[in-house]
């Protein structure tokens, strides 16, 4: 066991865990932060998608020892605070479109969506359907068309 310190949703946290434990389990099982979901643990389903220093990643595939004290981890629970609102524009777009069915994949979908929009903006271009085709997050309820509509709407307000 060793101590690991990082910034989680704006607050510095320190947690005791073996180096090898993937960050997803540190968040869920040790810190009780359950917004990032377990869907495969294989970096495939993307249900755990969160942000590290503003970029999308899958904590199921990062040993906690790889996280530095200055790293800022944002989960769905901390997304709205990154824009100083009760809801991030992408969360609002998700509500306006009534995207969710069971909802299990949706935290990961929203975190992916925000990163995709930011990535396109950083490249100086608008999001295309080809960009959306590259999103790997599984929605087993099959809400894909509403996800696409919500991402386009949310991007307008980011």
């Amino acid at each position: 066991m060793s101590s690991h310190t990082f910034v989680l949703n704006g607050t510095q946290v320190t947690v005791e865990a073996d180096d090898n434990v993937r960050l997803l389990w540190v968040l869920r099982d040790l810190l009780g932060v359950t917004g990032p979901k377990y869907g495969c643990g294989l970096e495939v389903c993307k249900a755990c998608t969160s942000h590290i220093n503003g970029k999308a990643f899958n904590p199921c595939s990062v040993p906690v020892s790889q996280i530095k004290p200055t790293d800022e981890i944002t989960t769905i629970e901390g997304l709205a605070a990154t824009v100083g609102q009760d809801l991030h524009p992408m969360q609002q777009a998700w509500l306006d479109t009534d995207v969710a069915q069971c909802g299990y994949c949706q935290p990961g979908q929203i975190m992916t969506a925000v990163a995709k929009v930011k990535q396109a903006k950083a490249d100086g271009r608008t999001l295309t359907d080809d960009d959306l085709d590259q999103i790997r997050n599984i929605c087993r309820c099959g809400t894909y068309s509403r996800i696409r509509a919500a991402i386009k709407a949310g991007a307008q307000h980011m």
């Binding site: 979901k37 495969c40 069915q101 909802g103 299990y104 949706q106 085709d133 590259q134």
Partner: protein, 766 residues
């Protein structure tokens, strides 16, 4: 609304008894007294499904106990209802909240719907399945809410010393003509009763008076979902219930002969317990990650499973050998003969199967997403050697189901682990477990022969042959209990009964027979969304297109001539119009249609599929691309659409399921186990497969009763995609999904049964 504007002709007045329940605040219970009044059947074609379908069977079985549900009015002005159904994404909690809000004149956000624990007294009325939930609780829940409103009005009338008919309700308040108001919260204690007593049953609102039912509403849990607050089974924290996973054998239902290094594994970081279970070795640890580590390290000698010698080819051979004969001889050039094969498919949702179990000396407590919680309670109690009443079963929110949660395999296993370890456990299957050891929609074949004589279709025979589907979650008991009431002749098996009650040809094809035969192989099977229909209807509609072609008729024109149901004709015509049927398309791109009637609904789907090389060969890393459905139009006549927005969501989901079943998703069975181990092996529809143009049209209501919707869209969508594919490629597809013949991934090893998680997550950020 004003008290006197209620319709006196409401069916609820004749069908329910109302009770004021003993409680500190107002609590209303209702009981159904007229069990025979099922939903109106659509006009009388000859096959059983049309007269009396699976949902009617469930209504009938639910009837004697439907009454024990109750609505409570809380001091804060909210109303509570513990729903005796599972919520797994189908939107039941929202629909039920709408029913209560409507009849109580209460804002929707003041209705709190939770999930009821297992309630053995409800018997079969706690089964969530067959797209039946909305149909069977629509009247009882509304009636309970209407009684609650009536009692609140009565309480206000008494306080104000006026007659109730002078009062009206709106927005959670009672008011009188002078403008005096009282909130429901302020009246609920006065309206409560110290003893349980029968009360009169008021009329329900007529649909013309609805302000919430029939209007598009968002899910009531949407805000919790988008903020990460919604708690699924996997997110629950019960004191002491540490993460637990199971190392599993390399074949389905294999057993444990010996664990060869338990001391070493037990000494691993975080690991607290190891226990040998019926079908694996359970490891309990501080984190699920450490359970996965332990599974990598465990050295186990495994015993044989139940289907070790079975692979795709041997199963298919067994099915072919079991096919029932077609009776009508082929009439040479006038015959369309076809046979289709459908591969094993997985009904796994995204949330891996999980359950929390806390087994003590004389009692047990279980938390899991269960669609038949009473059966789970019975079987867990039997396994633990406890009376059923000593096992408390909580139904929790599920991250999808698609049939998986009809069974309680994971809850039973969690109880076994907790008992053997003597500690609470939170047991989760891994993703790989879900695909390899979880229940499947079994492989099946559908053989069809149609004979054409003098420009008319005179016979249609369909012989469906399937590896046995396990219905032991309770539907069997329901059929036994109600067998005498079913319009099916003879002594059919449970599966044959389900088949007969859910399948019917919608066409006037003369002598029509559709029969099921099952092969009893010991795979772990179960219902998947829409059970037999996706395969049966796909085969049927492909043959319909073949017949039309033989008769030189356009597929839509042909269907118009032969459909025997006016609601189906209406949705077909609408789909053809909205989807621009017959549009000129480039070579390799084609349209297809499929129609289906089930759950007392009618639905037509029209799709366009792009099979051009540029699309088929598009490159996305680790993806199955292939043909793409580029446009989908779904036209549904749901009887009465309770929540059009939720209904649309179910239609979209059904289409995406169908795309997977038709084109990309299947299990490859090899030497007793599926090769698939992740979502990049089992290719459920992804963004790169889904249509950019998805339209759902909801027809004007044709009934005052809702039909079933949760599974409705899968079968006709699958059929439309298959028909479009046949027209785009000029070849009749006979094996589904169409990519099943190509293994598009490298399988994970069979041992360890759960692969280790990657470590390169920071390399792949974006």
């Amino acid at each position: 609304m004003a008290e006197q504007r209620r319709s006196p002709d409401s069916p609820s007045r004749r069908r329910f008894l109302g009770y004021l329940l003993a409680a500190p605040t107002l609590a209303i219970g209702v009981q159904l007294i007229d069990p025979q009044s099922a939903d109106a059947a659509i006009p009388s074609p000859p096959q059983p499904e049309d007269l009396f379908d699976l949902g009617d069977l469930q209504n009938l079985a639910a009837a004697p106990t439907a009454g024990l549900i109750s609505v409570q009015v809380n001091a804060d002005g909210t109303a509570s209802f513990a729903m005796h159904r599972a919520e797994v994404g189908q939107g039941m909690t929202t629909s039920v909240a709408m029913m209560i809000a409507e009849e109580m004149d209460l804002p929707l956000d003041k209705v709190i719907v939770t999930l009821a624990d297992a309630r053995p007294e409800l018997l079969m009325n706690q089964l969530t399945g067959g797209s039946n939930s909305t149909r069977s609780i629509y009247l009882p829940v509304r009636t309970a809410a209407a009684i609650a409103r009536q009692q609140l009005v009565a309480a206000a009338a008494k306080q104000w010393n006026v007659t109730p008919t002078t009062l009206s309700t709106a927005n959670g308040m009672v008011s009188d003509p002078s403008g005096r108001t009282a909130t429901y919260g302020s009246l609920t204690t006065a309206a409560a009763s110290a003893t349980t007593m029968q009360v009169s049953v008021p009329a329900l609102k007529s649909p013309s008076q609805f302000t919430i039912l029939g209007t598009p509403q968002n899910r009531i849990d949407a805000h919790d979902i988008v903020t990460g607050r919604k708690r699924f089974g996997m997110d629950l924290q019960v004191p002491g219930a540490l993460p637990t996973m199971v190392a599993r054998p390399p074949t389905i239902n294999g057993t444990v002969v010996s664990v060869n290094n338990s001391a070493a594994v037990k000494a691993m970081p975080g690991v607290t317990d190891i226990a040998v279970l019926s079908h694996g070795v359970a490891v309990r640890a501080q984190t699920f990650g450490q359970c996965i580590d332990a599974i990598q390290a465990l050295q186990v000698t495994w015993g044989a499973g139940t289907v070790d010698n079975q692979s795709d080819a041997s199963v298919l051979a067994a099915l072919k050998a079991a096919e029932l004969p077609l009776i009508v001889p082929p009439l040479l050039a006038q015959t369309v003969d076809a046979e289709f094969t459908f591969a094993f498919a997985s009904n796994s949702p995204l949330e891996p199967d999980n359950a929390i179990a806390d087994v003590r000396a004389g009692s047990a407590e279980i938390w899991s997403s269960l669609k038949v919680p009473i059966t789970a309670q019975e079987e867990i109690a039997a396994m633990l050697g406890l009376p059923q009443s000593a096992v408390k079963v909580h139904v929790v929110q599920g991250g999808g189901s698609f049939g998986r949660h009809l069974f309680h395999d994971v809850a039973l296993e969690a109880a076994e682990a907790s008992k053997k370890m003597g500690k609470p456990v939170k047991l989760s299957w891994s993703r790989t477990d879900d695909f390899r050891q979880g229940r499947t929609h079994p492989m099946c074949t559908s053989r069809v022969r149609a004979n054409i004589l003098l420009g008319n279709v005179v016979t249609y025979e369909q012989r469906h042959t399937s590896v046995q589907t396990d219905f032991s979650h309770g539907l069997g008991e329901m059929i036994t209990a109600t067998a005498a009431s079913l319009p099916i002749a003879g002594n059919l098996s449970f599966a044959e009964s389900i088949f007969e009650l859910s399948q019917s040809s919608p066409y006037n094809f003369g002598v029509t027979t559709q029969l099921l035969n099952e092969v009893p192989l010991a795979f772990n099977t179960g219902s998947m969304r829409n059970i037999y229909s996706p395969n049966v209807v796909c085969a049927q509609e492909l043959v319909v297109d073949q017949i039309a072609n033989r008769m030189h008729l356009d597929p839509v024109v042909f269907r118009r001539q032969y459909l025997k149901n006016s609601r189906l004709l209406a949705v077909l015509n609408k789909a053809a119009q909205v989807g621009n049927w017959g549009a000129k398309l480039p070579a390799g791109i084609a349209q297809g249609v499929g129609v289906h009637a089930e759950y007392q609904a009618a639905i037509a789907c029209l799709v366009e599929i792009d099979c051009t090389p540029a699309t088929v060969n598009r490159q996305i890393p680790n993806a199955v691309t292939g043909p793409r459905v580029t446009k989908a139009v779904i036209v549904v006549d749901p009887g009465f659409a309770i929540n059009p927005r939720g209904l649309e969501a179910q239609m979209i989901g059904g289409m995406n399921d169908a795309i997977a079943l038709a084109l990309t998703s299947s299990l490859h069975m090899q030497h007793g186990i599926p090769l698939e181990g992740s979502w990049d092996n089992y290719f459920y529809t992804r963004q790169w497969n889904t249509p950019l143009d998805m339209q759902v049209v909801i027809m004007p209501n044709t009934s005052t009763s809702p039909s079933g919707a949760g599974e409705l869209a899968v079968a006709p969508s699958f059929a439309a995609i298959a028909c479009a594919y046949a027209r785009a490629t000029g070849k009749l597809p006979t094996s589904f999904p169409i990519n099943h013949g190509t293994l598009s991934f490298t399988p994970y090893p069979l041992e360890p049964s759960t692969p280790q998680s990657p470590t390169d997550g920071l390399v792949n950020t974006f």
